[in-house]
């Protein structure tokens, strides 16, 4: 008879089986047996203590997005578990593979409203791909195996495993299952039928004004090379979604940058005017499309996604293609004919020159504006050779507009849920997963303060993360809506900020405030040349807005544009 293992031991051994190197968490009463087993095991997995469980979930998410591997977080029952929820919802909306392990009150106390009981399985149900409540140790190994399998396969997503304290203390003989038993789950990597591929090829070959829309699914399938081959072979311009930034080099002549509410104007014009749209690995949500009924009105839309539920969810699709992005592109490439599309590409470059004219960097001003910071950062990082993790707000849009991303997974951002406070903890996770990568946080003065205490985690783990706060004194994006839609009534948006450089200092992190354009590059260099973390407080002009802008519920054709420099 082999030796008995406790539930806690089984958790750690299962994580090791899954290749987990790091877990982000914070202990409490109902998860303590598992933490104690970590001690007994001589720390087989590195545990990163966080300051708030939301941070743990974002760290697991950032780790997963940066590496493509499953990120793991851990919390105690009740408030520990509920604190994870924002991070789980963030991961769910952006299809990030995360496994969350939570302690739960002992089985005998379940349903008694005892201390720190919260039904996290029910609470997390709508924001996880799947979840478990384990009340019997015999169910534990299979649940852990399945959790990792479900999180990383098919369309990835977060999975939560809630484990009662008594299960962690119980013991049994343990072997990690070799297979999973999930009759209702078929995450096969599908190649679409030949007839469907034929139809797609024909549509693309006959198109006069084709456009590709590439999303994060392309990177998940590691199909960036094939995407580029398709675009170049038939001279089809490529737009991305916000999460798709980096799947196609933004500096490529065929790049349309990204589209939607704050997308480039020439991109939105191209999306509105195209006659065939080939959307791949993008879920075409309302931030990209504007009002659904007005999106790409002249286009026959081909939608490639491995999730059948995305087909026709928001738009009327001409050709739905349920399939893996890589396998679909490989099947399609030989059938797509070389093409030039000179008139169409000419039209697009005309639109593009109009955009250039309205570029905020073309405006004559001595004031420090955020887009200038983004462009300087791009130059200073050897034209974007780094990973940027952005928070949510104006700075997030400017970063995506003015920092040209050319590498896959080089922009990590909360696109679907739009979670303020995401950037710093996600960057911690990303840096843990990719220790050699130059890691930049770009956060607003509002969002940064939501998870600012994780600066202690940065120091605890000695991570060389560089932090750029875009300090405009406002919840800027909301202030912009108030400016445009509420007649400049700035209710609840002016911020009372601390001195961020002093805050950093308190954590032992050096920093520098920047108020003038001419100091930006030098300050970035100083951050780069400092070993370890560094914080830059960019005190920018307060009332600059992000353009173009599409009002919520309106058509992308009705963009609010920045005035031309001469008219300004």
């Amino acid at each position: 008879m082999s030796e008995l293992k406790t539930g806690g031991q089984i958790i750690w051994e299962s994580l090791i089986h899954e290749g987990v190197e790091v877990v982000f968490g914070l202990p409490g009463g109902t998860i303590l047996p598992t933490y104690d087993d970590l001690y007994k095991y001589n720390y087989p997995v590195h545990h990163v203590l966080v300051t708030h469980e939301q941070g743990a979930a974002h760290m697991a998410d950032g780790y997963a997005r940066a590496t493509g591997r499953v990120g793991v977080c851990m919390a105690t029952s009740g408030p520990g578990a509920t604190n994870l929820v924002t991070g789980l919802a963030t991961a769910f909306m952006d299809s990030t593979p995360v496994v969350a392990i939570t302690g739960q009150v002992p089985k005998t106390l379940l349903g008694r409203d005892g201390f720190q009981e919260a039904d996290i399985r029910a609470i997390s149900m709508p924001v996880t791909k799947h979840n478990y409540l384990i009340t019997d140790i015999r169910d534990l190994p299979a649940a852990l195996k399945e959790a990792f399998y479900i999180a990383r396969t098919g369309r990835p997503g977060p999975v939560l495993v809630d484990i009662t304290k008594c299960v962690q203390q119980d013991s049994m003989e343990f072997t990690y299952p070799a297979t999973v038993n999930l009759p209702g789950y078929r995450p096969n990597r599908l190649t679409p039928d030949a007839a469907v591929i034929d139809r797609v090829a024909r549509l693309l070959n006959e198109a006069q004004r084709p456009v590709i829309v590439a999303g994060q699914g392309v990177s998940m399938a590691k199909a960036e090379v094939e995407l580029r081959q398709l675009a170049e072979k038939a001279n089809i311009p490529v737009a991305t979604s916000l999460l798709g930034v980096g799947t196609f080099p933004a500096t490529h002549p065929l790049s349309l940058s990204w589209g939607g509410m704050h997308g480039e104007a020439y991109c939105n014009y191209a999306l509105q005017e195209c006659d065939v749209m080939f959307a791949i690995g993008a879920r075409l949500d309302d931030r990209l499309t504007g009002a659904f009924s007005t999106f790409a009105p002249k286009a026959r839309i081909i939608h490639v996604d491995l999730d059948p539920a995305e087909m026709g969810k928001n738009l009327t699709i001409d050709t739905p293609v349920v399939g893996d992005a890589l396998l679909t592109l490989r099947a399609l490439l030989p059938q797509v004919e070389p093409n030039e599309h000179p008139a169409w590409l000419g039209q697009i470059s005309e639109w593009r020159s109009d955009t250039t004219e309205r570029d905020i960097l073309a405006q004559e001003t001595d004031e420090l504006v955020a887009p200038y910071v983004m462009r300087q950062l791009w130059h200073a990082t050897n034209q974007g050779d780094c990973t940027v993790v952005t928070d949510v707000g104006q700075h997030q849009m400017w970063e995506a507009q003015y920092f040209y991303h050319t590498k896959p997974r080089s922009l990590l951002t909360s696109g679907g849920l739009g979670t303020m406070g995401y950037a710093l903890p996600a960057a911690i996770g990303a840096q843990m997963g990719r220790p050699q990568e130059e890691m930049w946080v770009i956060a607003g003065d509002g969002g940064f303060q939501m998870t600012m205490p994780e600066l202690s985690t940065v120091m605890q783990e000695r991570l060389p993360i560089k932090i750029a706060i875009i300090n405009n004194g406002y919840l800027g994006m909301v202030r912009q809506w108030q400016d445009v839609f509420y007649n400049k009534r700035y209710v609840g948006t002016p911020l009372f900020n601390p001195d961020f450089v002093k805050v950093a200092e308190a954590y032992g992190i050096p920093g520098r405030a920047v108020t003038r354009k001419e100091d930006v590059f030098d300050a970035i260099r100083q951050a780069q040349n400092t070993a370890g973390p560094f914080l830059l407080d960019f005190q920018v002009e307060e009332f600059t807005n992000v353009y173009p802008m599409v009002a919520p519920g309106k058509s992308n054709a009705d963009m609010i544009r920045r005035g031309r420099p001469v008219e300004n």
């Binding site: 399985r121 029910a122 149900m125 709508p126 791909k129 799947h130 409540l133 195996k145 990792f148 399998y149 479900i150 396969t153 070799a178 297979t179 999973v180 038993n181 999930l182 009759p183 209702g184 789950y185 078929r186 995450p187 009924s293 999730d307 059948p308 539920a309 087909m311 026709g312 969810k313 009327t316």
Partner: protein, 187 residues
């Protein structure tokens, strides 16, 4: 956009009999704003697999969303829209009707016309049981309402495709249960 037509669809789903599975299904229905007219769940012929019949109303997009989103739930093994197939669809109702010496005979006549049955009798009321397609249940209830319905319970509809099983879902579910390894997801 093409004009959208809303129709009722009868859909069968086979679910793994796991804790919380109904919670997942109903949570999905409400979260995604699906319009569900009736829903029943019970055992299927395979141990560990429950069978749910539900009637959903919506246009083509709604129905496609109901099916694909539901199918995405890990514990949903299989799903089939049987609206276009020859099916036996039945609902059961228990109806307690107030009676007097005068009305009892009339009610008994209705019961026999509708092939329903009387399952309990006392001096002032009857419990009537009917198993029939939904419209026949509706129509009996409407008639009985004239006498005063004291209590009523309906099960919602269950459905089964006529003839030998072409779907094969019961078979695949059986195979799953038999070899215990689903589609053999070797991770």
């Amino acid at each position: 956009m093409t004009a959208t037509q809303t129709k009722s669809h009868t859909i069968i789903a086979w679910l793994e009999d796991k804790p919380g599975v109904l919670n997942r299904v109903t949570g999905l229905f409400s979260r995604r704003n699906f319009n569900i007219e009736s829903l029943t769940v019970g055992h299927s012929e395979v141990k560990g697999i429950s069978r749910m019949t539900f009637v959903a109303r919506g246009d083509e997009r709604d129905l496609q969303q109901v099916e694909t989103q539901l199918d995405k739930l890990i514990n949903v093994v299989h799903i089939a829209d049987v609206s276009q197939e020859p099916t036996v669809v039945r609902e059961m109702a228990l109806i307690k009707v107030a009676t007097s010496g005068q009305t009892r005979g009339e009610i008994m006549q209705l019961v026999s016309i509708y092939h329903a049955s009387v399952v309990d009798v006392d001096m002032t009321s009857l419990i009537i049981q009917i198993v029939a397609p939904e419209d026949r249940v509706d129509s009996l209830i409407k008639l009985l309402d004239n006498y005063g319905i004291e209590e009523m319970v309906r099960t919602g509809q269950v459905a089964m495709v006529r003839g030998s099983s072409r779907h094969g879902h019961s078979h695949s579910a059986a195979t799953v249960a038999a070899n215990g390894n689903g589609n053999g997801h070797h991770a």
